[in-house]
Every structure is written in C-alpha cells, then in structure tokens.
C-alpha cells in the first residue's frame, strides 16, 4: 500500500500571530516576534540570554473544566490549535471517533510548569504531605499530555503517537503521521507539537553558552541565522498542527487541499548527543529526497533548521551545499520567531505552506553579513515573489536526531 497523503488544514500559535493572515503579513513585512525575556520569581535574574520568542497576544481558551482539569499550559496550546484545525477541516464527529483518525503530537518534556509544582511540593521544608500533589498533576505534566488531551477533548479513538525528541518532535509527528496514512494504518492524522513558556529551557541553552546574549537590548534583531554576527539561539513558545488525509478520502469529502507530503526521512548521528554532525545531516537530506522520489533540482525552497548557533549553522549550510549546491533558495524561519522547540518543525512547515499558497519566499531576517563558512548556498535575503512547488523542511535535535520533510504544492 502506497497512498498519497495530502494536507487539508493547518493551524498555529506563534510569536508572530495565530492566524494565516497575521503570519503571512509578518513574514512578508519582516516582523520579528522576539521580545524581552519575561521576569519571573525563578531563574530569570540569573539568565544571560534575555530574549524570548513570545506569544503576547490574548488567546481565548474556551474549554470546559472537564477538559481543563487535566491540561497544563502546553496542552492549552495544543488543544487550541487542534480546535482551530478541526473547525477548518470540517470532519464529521463520526469520523473523529471511528478509529481511522489518529494523533501524532508532542512536546519536549510535557509541561515543565506542572512538573515544577510537583517538585516544589517535595522540596518544601518538613513536607510530608504528598497529598498536596494533585491527582491530576501527572496528567498535566506527562510527556504525552498534549496528545491525549487532544484525544480526550475531541473524542478521537485512533492511534496515538507522542514523539518527544526535542527539536524534531513535531517534524517527527508529521513524518510518522505521513507514514501511517501512506501505508494505510490510518486514513487521517492530526500531527503537530507544542511548547509552553518555560524558563528552564532557556537556562539549559544559557548554560551551554548557546543562547543569544548580544542583542538583549534589541530583541527584534536576534536570532540571526547564517549571519556573521549571530550569537546563538532564542528560545520561544508556540504550537502548530496540520491535518493529513489520504488523498481519495479527502477528495471524496470535498476537503480543501493545501499541500501534499511526498517524502520523509529521519536518522540519528549515532554519536554525540549535542554537537551537529555533517554526515548525519547530509544523509537525512539525501534520504528525504530519495523517499520523495525527486532530485535536488526539484526543490525550490529549503526551510533550514538554522538556530543561529555558531557551529550548527555552518554544518547545516555545508550539508545543504553538498546536496543542493546553490540551486535551492534557503531561509532560516527561526529568524522571525526564535526556536519554538517541539513546535519548530510544524510551525516551519506551516509557514512554508502559507508561502506556497501565497506565492512568495520570506527572507532570513538580519542576514546582513553572511558568515563566509555559510556562503555556499542560495540564501534568500529579500522578499521574493516566486512560486514554491516543492519544499524541504529540515530539523535537527539534541540526541542527534535529524529529519527532513518534503512537501509539495497540490496538483490533482
């Protein structure tokens, strides 16, 4: 069985907006969603990187308590994007509960704010009252909390996959969801990822000397993928989801088709858990193209992982150069919103779909002086009106996990 898999709806919450219109406008205008890091009573005063990709607009979460009671902040994001997704998709409730619709959705580690509640109880002086750990704290904080809160809220009864592979979490969600539909295990999959505001993630990158610090007084000028003056990544919050459907199923129900997934690859560097690996990245890009049955010349847009770290960008540029040379236009979309962690793959896929639909390619922001070591590829440096027919979205994660997703403008 080898079925076509189409994308029939998309929804996102990002630092540059949660509607298609807002996101397209921000990408076209070069608007950054990076803001000053929020102050809090925890670690913020110790953190050097004082910038954050921030969702600072109001979101009206209209969920009954029976759903809210098992949701941490990350699940609010997840359920909200899926609610938006399903309202666009128009699937019948009968299908949602048919067992033929599955969910592939994850976050990097559940809800860290809920986990902090648990730990703070245990760390209270003279505390013997484990009863003050709520019965639902685990449900709110567990690694698969996003996926199962989605299934609960929308009565979805198919397969559940909750990838939690750091920055490849949601690209794996889409890729594995694609394979489930392609090979007939499900007729449709809701795929995505989410991460909430979390200072511990910022602290981790801060301690690894990987967070941006030189633009604390000008947050909107960082991160700067591939730029000679880049100084690290900017952690961000957000969520995204797409609905994948088997083509005939989507066509028969009259769904609007906004794109097609034609290939996916995932590998591991088989070694260091932090350092990027040129061979691993190059291989995942090549295998993605092979899986899609196309050559590099067919790709007219590459969404680079491009976190703006010193080493990561160089190795990614080298890998892209090896495979594509200067043929494919390349943009680092994190320059608009920072690094949304588990959500980065899905958000960058959705940005790519929106650009595909609208007919333009957004440039990498702040790419004023290309790092000579990153110069061997076709950087997009200004807004380009050009149709994207086939795009590659690549993501790499701590743990040495790499993914490449190939999406195509839909043609019947």
């Amino acid at each position: 069985m080898n079925r076509r898999v189409v994308i029939t709806a998309a929804a996102a919450i990002t630092p540059i907006g949660n509607t298609r219109e807002q996101i397209v406008k921000s990408l076209a205008n070069g608007t950054s969603g990076v803001k000053p890091l929020r102050d809090d009573e925890l670690l913020s005063k110790y953190i050097h990187s004082r910038v954050y990709g921030t969702v600072d607009y109001p979101i009206e979460f209209d969920f009954d308590r029976k759903y809210r009671k098992t949701m941490g902040p990350v699940s609010f994001y997840a359920c909200q994007v899926v609610k938006d997704l399903l309202s666009k998709a128009g699937l019948a409730q009968e299908f949602l509960s048919s067992g033929r619709l599955g969910v592939a959705f994850g976050s990097i580690h559940g809800s860290p704010s809920m986990q902090r509640n648990i730990y703070s109880t245990l760390l209270e002086e003279n505390s013997t009252k484990t009863g003050s750990i709520s019965a639902v704290d685990y449900l709110k904080s567990m690694v698969h909390t996003t996926a199962v809160n989605i299934t609960k809220m929308f009565h979805i009864t198919g397969r559940v996959l909750s990838s939690s592979t750091a920055c490849t979490t949601s690209s794996q969600s889409v890729g594995f969801g694609y394979e489930m539909v392609k090979y007939g295990l499900q007729d449709a999959m809701i795929c995505g990822g989410a991460d909430e505001y979390d200072l511990t993630t910022v602290a981790v990158f801060d301690n690894l000397l990987a967070g941006s610090t030189a633009y604390n007084d000008r947050p909107h000028l960082t991160p700067r993928p591939f730029d000679a003056d880049r100084d690290g990544l900017v952690v961000a919050e957000g969520a995204g989801a797409v609905l994948l459907e088997e083509y005939e199923f989507a066509k028969n129900r009259g769904a609007d088709i906004i794109g097609e997934v034609i290939g996916f690859s995932c590998n591991n560097n088989g070694g260091d858990l932090i350092l990027p690996n040129l061979e691993g990245i190059t291989q995942v890009i090549r295998v993605g193209l092979e899986n899609a049955g196309i050559g590099p010349e067919s790709v007219d847009f590459v969404s680079a992982h491009a976190t703006a770290t010193k080493m990561g960008d160089v190795l990614e540029a080298q890998a892209i150069e090896r495979v594509y040379g200067k043929s494919a236009p390349v943009t680092g979309l994190k320059s608009y919103i920072g690094h949304t962690m588990a959500a980065c793959g899905i958000i960058e896929t959705i940005f790519t779909l929106y650009m595909m639909e609208t007919g333009f390619i957004a440039p990498t922001l702040h790419l004023d002086n290309i790092d000579p070591r990153c110069a061997g590829i076709n950087h997009v440096r200004r807004l380009t009106e050009s149709p994207i027919r086939t795009a590659a979205v690549q993501n790499f994660a701590f743990g040495g996990v790499n993914t490449s997703l190939i999406v195509k403008a839909f043609q019947a």
């Binding site: 308590r65 029976k66 009671k69 098992t70 009863g131 709520s134 019965a135």
Partner: protein
Amino acid sequence: MTRQEIQKEVYRIFREEFEIEDPGPDDDLKDMHGFDSIDAIELFIELEKMLQISLDQEIKKEAMLHIRTVNQICDYVAQFLPEQEPSQPGTIRK
C-alpha cells in the same frame, strides 16, 4: 459543624473547584454532572483541607465505591466530625 454547614461547604467546593452549580442533593454526580474518578480524588483533597485531617487510603477507596450524591458526601464528612453537645440544634451526631 452542622449538617447544614457541611452541605453549604460541599456546595461551595462543587461550585468553585468543579464548576458544578447546585447539584440536587440526591443527583447521581457521575451520570448527571460528569463527576469522574479524578474529580473524586480532588474532592478528597478538598475534604481533607476542610476537615483538617488526613484520610486513610482504605477509607477513601471504600468511599469511592459507594458515594454517588451530595447527601452521601455530607454523611461521609459527618462521620469524621467530633460529637457535639445535644443542646445545639441540627448538629450532626454519630
């Protein structure tokens, strides 16, 4: 604490913690108001705060098997209260 006071406090918990407004005293909370096992566990925590005691796990397990209504919850709470003087009208007595 009188039976009336217990009931008032239980209704407050239902309203504030479970967003269930004024269930009938003999309503089946599960069937009529979607009160599930997670809610029951949360209710024990609230009752422990209210009574300022720590309930034994076996007692909780037993209660979860049988308690279905607000009236039953009030009866359950009443058994943990100290005996009151008979001169106090409406007081719960064991």
